[in-house]
Symmetry: none
Subunit: 127 residues, 4 copies
């Protein structure tokens, strides 16, 4: 499993790891029951302090994404009503909402924002 971290980005390494793992779980690239790499193996590979990876895993455990299996490692949690697409949707909807709020604070109208979104989507979709 590959991870990309940028120690100088300002974003804490443990958060960078968190986000990459969360995305893989939410998108189904990591599926329930699967084991994630050990803290040590990742720490060695990325040349990072093991405590940092440990912090990432603890956070993922706390939020229900991972389950600690004693003596074996961390496993992707089997979540009840595990509607992946629903999780995803909530995450994206929240971001759209905050984008709307911000655009309004900047004095942009809803129709203007809508037009902008459609423009950018069209451009990206064409890639």
């Amino acid at each position: 499993m590959n991870f990309t971290i940028s120690p100088s980005s300002g974003v804490p390494i443990y958060r960078q790891m968190y986000e990459q793992l969360e995305k893989r779980i939410l998108s189904g690239q990591l599926s329930a029951g699967e084991f994630v790499p050990s803290v040590r193996s990742i720490a060695t590979k990325l040349q990072v302090n093991p405590m940092t990876i440990s912090k990432t895993y603890s956070l993922l455990e706390e939020r229900g994404y991972l389950v600690r299996v004693r003596g074996k490692g961390m496993q992707v949690a089997v979540r009840e009503n595990h509607d992946v697409s629903n999780d995803r949707q909530k995450l994206i909807v929240a971001q759209i909402s905050s984008l709307i709020e911000e655009s309004q604070q900047l004095g942009m109208t809803i129709p203007e924002l809508k037009q902008l979104m459609l423009d950018v989507l069209a451009k990206e979709g064409a890639k």
Copy 2:
């Protein structure tokens, strides 16, 4: 002029102030040539250390939003291509792009995202 700060939010106060001022300048609520409140007046009002506000102003100066007028205070900069709507647009477009990228990392398709955006916009527009 009113500001809202939340000392317990984790976001540094000087950054909170920065964002509020940047938004007001970009949205034209503060227009070129206008003087912003003095460091001391804001510090007193918000019960915050003057150096904290000073840091905000230095940042805004460094980025070209404010101009220091010695002995008189800080003034909103007259920017050459002061096409406010253009600044705003760039800021929002960048955020839409990163939202698209993220949704794709989560395994969502462009049409799905588009539908979601339209739904949320419709809901917000109706408020």
Copy 3:
């Protein structure tokens, strides 16, 4: 007499005025015996605090460029051995020296700097 000041440049206004007047005296544009405009007339014209201009004049007086004539104003001083070209030269030589020092701190050699100077001079001379 015209002056150009930029209140937002960071350079104190009294220094900006000082430099402009010093240059005019050193270059002979203002000659000995001539009266400079009154503090008030400049202050009004430039929309500047009279104390600021006063500070400029005091500095020029202190350094022997101006002489206070009671009831009449400030006069360009008649300086003994008033070799304008010599003053000028000292001023420029000092700056060339500090340029050499700086270029060496940056790891540039004397021949490199010499070449650079000749290049820039050739370019400017052709204008």
Copy 4:
């Protein structure tokens, strides 16, 4: 690493430090990837407040000279077009240009200035 500061020079300490570090980076004495001394170690050595050094580092970071590596310190940035000699040259050329401009405001001709430069260079080169 040694630094020289003069608290009584009028130039803010954080600026004095900035200039010394900028020069060492531009001259290649500090090379990309290298870690600069910690805020605290410099502060202790120079008997100066850590915040003062921190301000220097923030400025160097903002301008792209240093990169903050969380929990580890500040590292000299790897810059894309890291043509050190080019950076240096621009800095010096800008100063030569402004020297030419100034000499002309003082009524000196280009040939006179050229002669003066050659004289001073010859004297310095002989040291």
